[in-house]
Subunit: 344 residues, 5 copies
């Protein structure tokens, strides 16, 4: 057997690192097949209901050349498949369908979202999947499919559905993680402890960037999914339309979720600004109240510090204690008044 | 009779908790029917103008399996019906129509909005309703319909209309509750008493979240309602279009209402920010006025506290009273001036 | 004659309060007709070019029942006509056209906008107008039409045109009133007198609510008017399209006006916020300048209030006057400097 | 010759003030024609390739009556042509095309934008232009056209093109003037001199109003221009489509320009707010630094102003100079520290 | 050979400065051809698969006249090609296609974006390229194409594709540069050092202007690219559609990128405002803490500076040191408290 991770076939010598998995599926079951790629493809075509599925990881131009020639992939699609940083899209060529998906990953530790890339070439009897970056558990999708022969029986369409379903379902999970992060952030914004909010603006802004990154993965995919769900796309079974409709529906949900997060973040930033204003008002009032309580004794003391010869109070034995008592009394009175007015 | 809440029929053993109500309706009237589900469905189909309506509450996969097999429900719809957190939608399958509605509930005490889920499978002669969460008074709708045989006579379409009409009408009621809440909030924003506005930003933000939650229930429903109102949807009588148009119209009203609330909340947050600024300006002015009234006697007292040998005033008998009178005079003058300028 | 305000005909007994006016129009002229409603309608239908126009004010269900049965009005439209708080809309039924308009009124004293409701049922040879709330001068429209037989000759279409034209023209008048209010508000926002702006935020917010209320009346009407202007609507003459196009055009103008007001109000709120900032900066600077002018003499006096034995200045005859002169000099210098820098 | 400004023909007696210019054009050249309006129109029609062009200025209903009757203008278009404050639009009637344009004028001195109105009636062999307000140099367009017979040869279409081209080109010029104004405003917003920004918010707001006014002239014209550029419009040569496409393109450019100005103004207002914050922070820091430099000597002087009998320093000869030196030293140290931290 | 930069042919005398390069391409290869423009064009047309490519730089009307006459270019397109400041567009005329592109350039030193103009006339067997401003490396595109005869073989379409591909690819590069600039700006906004943020608002605003300028180049190009990618455009091979689809896809990516930058800049401005608020709160607290520490000794000193005869403490030897110790103790206590509360 020439395919598979550990195989040492003729042309896989250089590609061992690059070809992650490769198999022929007939009637939904993984089968043996000829060692050569062309022969395998011919065999798959001949049998009518079989197809070849090659999974690759960040191939170079040289490494991809043999595959693209064998399957007659379009030059532009091949270029896109080799370079990362594509938009999600669906492109129909004469011999194949080219789909770009952008799976997202959530880094728990750093609360950041990163995006990878997943390209699929769908032909009459082949699927080529190319992965860039981490976070797209294609192997898991393949394993799951190999345990569901009744699904895999539908050929390349089933692979496209299973992969896009897995990617979109992960969107919803990541969106839920972000929702949890937002709730933490809200607690920070409305925290009564001012030292919590030193970097709140920076955190909200950083969150906005994550959401924008997420959006770049999900929103451009809406239109391709609608085409798969409602339009006529070659190499895709018409019967699969309700399934793609389901994926499109989940995608719309993820997208609406993300839009909601974005709006709430803008509102949170505005609320943070308002909270800053409220806090400053509170601080200014509190500071002023204490200042008033210090200013009154200072003023009174200043008056009795005047050097007039004829100030009868200065001569009295009770002068000093009475003045001090008056100072304390005024301060207590002010304290009580400010307390009642909520300044302290 | 095998259906109904208290029935102990053959297959309802496990389902008693789950099947809330179940009946055959013929000519708009609840009738007796065979005990077995298949037989009941066959009977309903045979009679031509009868239909079977089963109402379920949060069924598990096992519990729903029998029903979905019997009515030939689509696998994807069944999956959606079993898991909550769906978007409102209308999906057409070969054998049935699948509608998801999201009723909203308003918690008076906490001023919060929560959403439930209501799924309907509409076939040629059956309706299956599945409810998740609280707040969807399906039983009330059924009771009302059973008293209006002339409506119920129109079959599954009538059930779909009655349910969606009830859900949408409740939207408008909840929107009115939120309107009342907004008015309270406005009073808080523009209250002259500053201690009222400590948490105003948090309240406005929380309100925004409620509105977003509400929006997620109403806005995605607009398009399915339009399809029912204008398009051709199988298993739905064409004559019902004006009725669904009416529902769509009420839904649009609720949706516009919610959008208006959302805009007003943004404006309220901006107005709150401006009010904070006005209040701070007022406070700073008031504090400064009092500070000025304390600073002047302090300064004057400081001058007469200087130890120069040749300060003729200090020798005068009238020196002290005159200086104190001047201090009081300046303070009164300042007080009057600040009062006139609106600083106090 | 059985119709008219003061008539005491057979079925108007209960309806006297409710039926504001009622007449048959033939060839554009008000004519006599049979006393009974059915007979009157039959007569109008028989004559071919005549129609019956009944005007009602807030009828109850019982009061409207006879009319709706006689003219074969659709149940849903009747429900809408009996309850206020509808959206503007145009609904086509088999036997009649149902139009909801929301006239707006402007209360000069309170600077508020309120909306009423105006429903029209248009049939082949009848018009039923139902009014809720104040502010829709239907009687004026009818009087004007009765003086323009060449218009009224076009039948129910002419009534629909005249009523919607009057409602939309009033929108433009109210928008102009609001424009004038906005100009007052602008003067307040940019007033140099700070005490003017205590409630500016509240007034802008309140204005926004008026605009939102207005918008709810105008915007949903755009689409029905377009249908009358461009589409095929039963019971409406095709020749009337340019006239409805004119109304639609005026409506668009009112709607753009309102949108412009809304944007300007948002800008005014932002400008108010900025003005608050400018004013606070000014106040802080002014207060600080005066504080500096008080702080310097206090500091100098403090120095000469120290009790050192060896302070030669204290012994000098000129000591006191020189120090006071220096204090006054510094204060004058500071005053001049602050004046020049615009702090005072 | 009965037409023209100075003509004293039969029916121009009253209209001399109103009819600015009037001529028959044949083969692109101004020609003589019969004195009576009907005869002139008949002559133009008879010759096949000739047309009559009447230019009017703010006609009253009476003044316009003769023209509208003669050319069979639609009643609604005539009403619109007589009242100013219309939206730009294109209306097709049986006998003529009615176009409303809103030329804008820029007042250099006041930096304000005002709009006029220009109505065109285009028929098979006539053009009636009606101008309201200043700023539409129709005479200049007519003169230019009279020097380009090869353009004028295309009849009424050429006039419509030339007029709309002139109006739209002027939009771009005015937009460039506003751009220059914006640059002045930006300099004001970011000026380091605070006294420059007292009225910045008011100026930005005023600018926003100008932009809104401009927008009301340009944006509603986009759709009519698209119809002329792509659709079938009666009385307009199909060959003229690329020319109207060019005008539509310029109009889109003006409109995008205006939208860009509007966005930048919002950003400028936000930046102004942020600048206010920066400035206030700077001021508060500067004021506090000076206050600290006054507070320290006051505090020290207060200590040595205490009346304790046993304060050995007070007895020393060097006591006073050392304390004053310490005061000065602390002040200089503070000054240096604040300078280094950017507070001064 | 009459064309080329150094050629001194018959009509290139005046045009040497203006015609940057000019050649006939046959079968993808640069060939010799007749010296005269008409003859060259005739030769290209005769050979069927050849085409003539003239590249010009800011031609004047006179300079362009010969070319436009020879190739039958449309008058309006010629006018647009001669004046800069056009919108990107695609215009179809009878004899040729006219495309305007706006390449952007990024000035590393000034962090500014400037736009140039690039016009292409595409005919059956000719391409005329006109460049305004710097920054469009047309020569590089031509050189690259001359090394790819298999692409150039597709004629004028290949030139249009190569040029628009180069322009759009450069958009993405410039967008990446702006992204790097944004990251610098973010560091400035959230810098803990306040002196960094004096001009942050001005820098964000300036950045917004760059983005707006960029947007004016990219967004209007989306629609023309879609037409090339999906529609039927004369003089463009249908087979080239996937290639233009690729360009349109890259353009959409650039456009989404720019939109993302714009949103982030608005958020950065809001975050800057919030940071200003946080910083002011911090400053006010810090200043107040120090003021409190100065006010307490001043008040205490004032009390013992009073001139009462009966103040027993004044007589004690330990009076002075104890009071000073108390002052220091209170100050240290306050310092500690403020430190713990995060005010210092």
């Amino acid at each position: 057997m020439w395919w598979g991770r550990s195989a040492g076939g003729r042309w896989t010598g250089d590609n061992a690192r690059v070809i992650v998995d490769c198999a022929i599926y007939q009637n939904g079951c993984r089968t043996e097949g000829p060692e050569d790629l062309s022969d395998a493809l011919d065999a798959a075509r001949a049998s009518g209901d079989a197809f070849l599925w090659i999974g690759m990881y960040e191939p170079t131009e040289q490494e991809f050349e043999h595959v693209s020639r064998e399957f007659g992939l379009h030059k532009l699609a091949v270029e896109d498949a080799l370079t990362a940083h594509q938009r999600p899209k669906l492109e129909v060529y004469d011999d194949s369908l080219f789909v770009v998906l952008k799976p997202v990953m959530y880094d728990e530790a750093a609360d950041t979202v990163t995006t990878g890339e997943l390209m699929l070439f769908i032909g009459d009897s082949f699927v080529v999947t190319v992965r860039h970056g981490e976070g797209a558990a294609l192997a898991a999708v393949r394993r799951r499919l190999e345990h569901e022969p009744e699904v895999l029986r539908h050929g390349p369409t089933a692979v496209l559905y299973a992969v896009s379903d897995a990617v979109v379902d992960h969107y919803i999970e990541v969106a839920a993680e972000l929702q949890a992060d937002l709730e933490e952030l809200e607690a920070e914004v409305f925290s009564p402890n001012p030292s919590d909010s030193k970097n709140t603006a920076a955190r909200i802004y950083g969150f906005k960037r994550q959401v924008l990154e997420f959006r770049r993965a999900t929103n451009p995919l809406l239109q391709p999914m609608e085409r798969l769900a409602f339009g006529e796309v070659p190499f895709v079974h018409e019967h699969a339309q309700p399934f793609f409709r389901d994926v499109a529906d989940h995608l719309t949900r993820a997208s609406e979720y993300i839009d909601g997060l974005d709006r709430l973040l803008s509102d949170a930033l505005a609320a943070h600004l308002a909270q800053m204003g409220v806090r400053q008002n509170d601080d200014v009032r509190k500071i002023s109240a204490w200042a008033a309580m210090a200013a009154v004794p200072t003023m009174v003391a200043g008056i009795y510090g005047m050097n007039f010869e004829h100030m009868p109070e200065l001569r009295q034995v009770w002068g000093y204690p009475v003045v001090v008592a008056v100072m304390v009394g005024i301060c207590l009175g002010l304290h009580r008044m400010f307390k009642r007015r909520g300044w302290l």
